[in-house]
Symmetry: C2
Subunit: 321 residues, 2 copies
């Protein structure tokens, strides 16, 4: 049973009781209405040993990463983060000073986005883990995983696979160039770009589990298929340079490496032309595929059609791969 099958097995018979709920389990955030606002909420957990090693990152970086990765989910719905809650389980090897430095990292990102820390809880356990819950809001439209139309382009922001390469290099004990390392250690949620893109996109998601997984989510939510052109996936020059240092291809990293926290969205060709003219957009945009009519999820490499893999499964795989 993978993570998504388990979620369905555990939660499929729960009821939604409130009339103002717009979206529950199954998108990047839950969504409900309060007056003229959409409110969103997302939560995620990082466990030492499964999601990170203390030796890889400074406590400040771990704090920053915790907030940015959750804010990325808020951004990908088209909302602005507002408040957050930290649930911390501290083990015997974690000092108050380490925690304070980690909170310094949390605070840095909180101040950057003007997010209020409103609560949480701190307790003891055998394993260090950090859970963040973030609220966001918007009075304009949100974008969901569903909403794609046949023929829509599939577009990503930035470059893909950097975080995976950095992680694999760390796992091999190699020195990782700072710029590549920072893509893994301190990813940046695309909050501002998402506010622009949401005006044009038909569906959107953040890339936490790799292109393959996110493309499947978008296609499935609209009951359509997706085709990715492998040769169109944008890689950074550093990623290309260090492909030789790892035991996977760049394509594998991009398809199922995850943790880039870039945005993926579907968009009509007409809207994409309008979006590209937007002057305030910070990230480069790259068309990597399109929404197809059939319920197929494939990628094309060297004229050969392959099934899209399932993407990184945080539940069944761990960092020591």
């Amino acid at each position: 049973m993978n993570e998504f099958e388990l979620i369905d097995y555990l939660t499929n018979d729960f009821k939604i009781y409130q009339e103002n709920v717009v979206a529950g389990i199954g998108d990047d955030c839950a969504v409900w209405r309060e007056g003229d606002k959409y409110i969103v909420f997302t939560t995620d957990t990082m466990v030492e040993g499964d999601h990170f090693l203390k030796s890889w990152f400074t406590p400040e970086q771990i704090g920053q990463r915790l907030v940015e990765t959750n804010v990325s989910d808020v951004a990908s719905m088209g909302a602005i983060p507002t408040s957050m809650f930290v649930s911390l389980v501290i083990d015997d090897n974690t000092s108050p000073l380490w925690c304070r430095k980690m909170y310094d990292g949390i605070k840095r990102v909180a101040d950057k986005y003007k997010i209020s820390l409103l609560g949480g809880n701190i307790t003891h356990g055998k394993t260090l883990s950090l859970t963040l819950g973030v609220h966001g809001e918007t009075i304009t439209n949100l974008v969901y995983r569903k909403g794609s139309t046949m023929g829509d382009l599939i577009v990503v922001t930035g470059t893909i696979g950097d975080a995976c390469i950095a992680r694999l290099m760390l796992g091999k004990g190699l020195t990782v160039p700072t710029a590549l390392f920072n893509r893994l250690a301190t990813p940046t949620a695309r909050v501002d770009d998402a506010q622009i893109i949401k005006q044009y996109a038909s569906a959107m998601i953040d890339i936490s589990d790799g292109i393959a997984s996110e493309a499947r989510h978008i296609a499935k939510a609209s009951q359509l298929g997706v085709l990715i052109n492998a040769t169109d996936i944008p890689y950074s020059s550093l990623a290309k340079k260090h492909e030789k240092d790892i035991d996977r291809s760049l394509l594998e990293c991009a398809l199922r490496g995850g943790e880039d926290y870039e945005l993926m969205f579907s968009i009509s060709e007409e809207n994409f032309n309008k979006l590209q003219k937007h002057k305030d957009l910070i990230s480069p945009l790259t068309v990597i595929g399109c929404i197809t009519k059939e319920m197929t999820n494939v990628y094309i490499e060297n004229d050969v059609v392959h099934d899209l893999p399932k993407g990184f499964d945080h539940f069944n795989e761990n960092i020591n791969l």
Copy 2:
């Protein structure tokens, strides 16, 4: 450093950016306004080995307990629970079937209070832990830890110390009578009674860490003191019967045992007389002390004045005490 000192050390320089925030860190829930509503949110974590042993409870009981204890925080502010989010860290010894039974317990309480499960996350880790976040709301008044006036009575609902006695008996491998065991395994949040009490109380809190800790919180929040009459603390007949089986006095259990999830509130004598005439109140109410002028926190036993202890510290003590 205890839990509260650590929270202050980690969070004292965070800013609140949103104007609609009414209360952040430091009460049972965070509070903010949305239109004519007060929205509250609380989150808490249970870690296997520190907060519970699987051998003590059925998975259904653990799920029920997770929701009731968080709902208790929502109730103690005077709000009605609305939506919730479960963050689950699963270890290798926890099967999908165990989780499903645990979610059956979560669902039972969700259906009882009409709470919508809107999201969460599931991941792998070396230690099983369950984090719940719950939203609540009300359009009428909330009650905070602060608000007490000199001379206010200190009142509790129900009986105190039952959960602690059950836990100590379990720790000694003794058979615990069902009614006593259920006070620990499946506590009941006092949601309905809190809706009545909040119309009269000056301050309110739920008893999760023992009378001593909660009384100190209420007194400190109003910059006053509190006096508890030890002989007035209400005990169940089962608790009295089994005091002989444990190595602590009933008084110790009540003062710093915690986990009863009854309500404690301060109230003027005049309002208490009105409250007692309320026909819909389910729980028995007992006056156990009063708010004093000085910044002293004491209890009286056999005409001797003692300092109130600090209460159970979930952060520095564990279940194997």
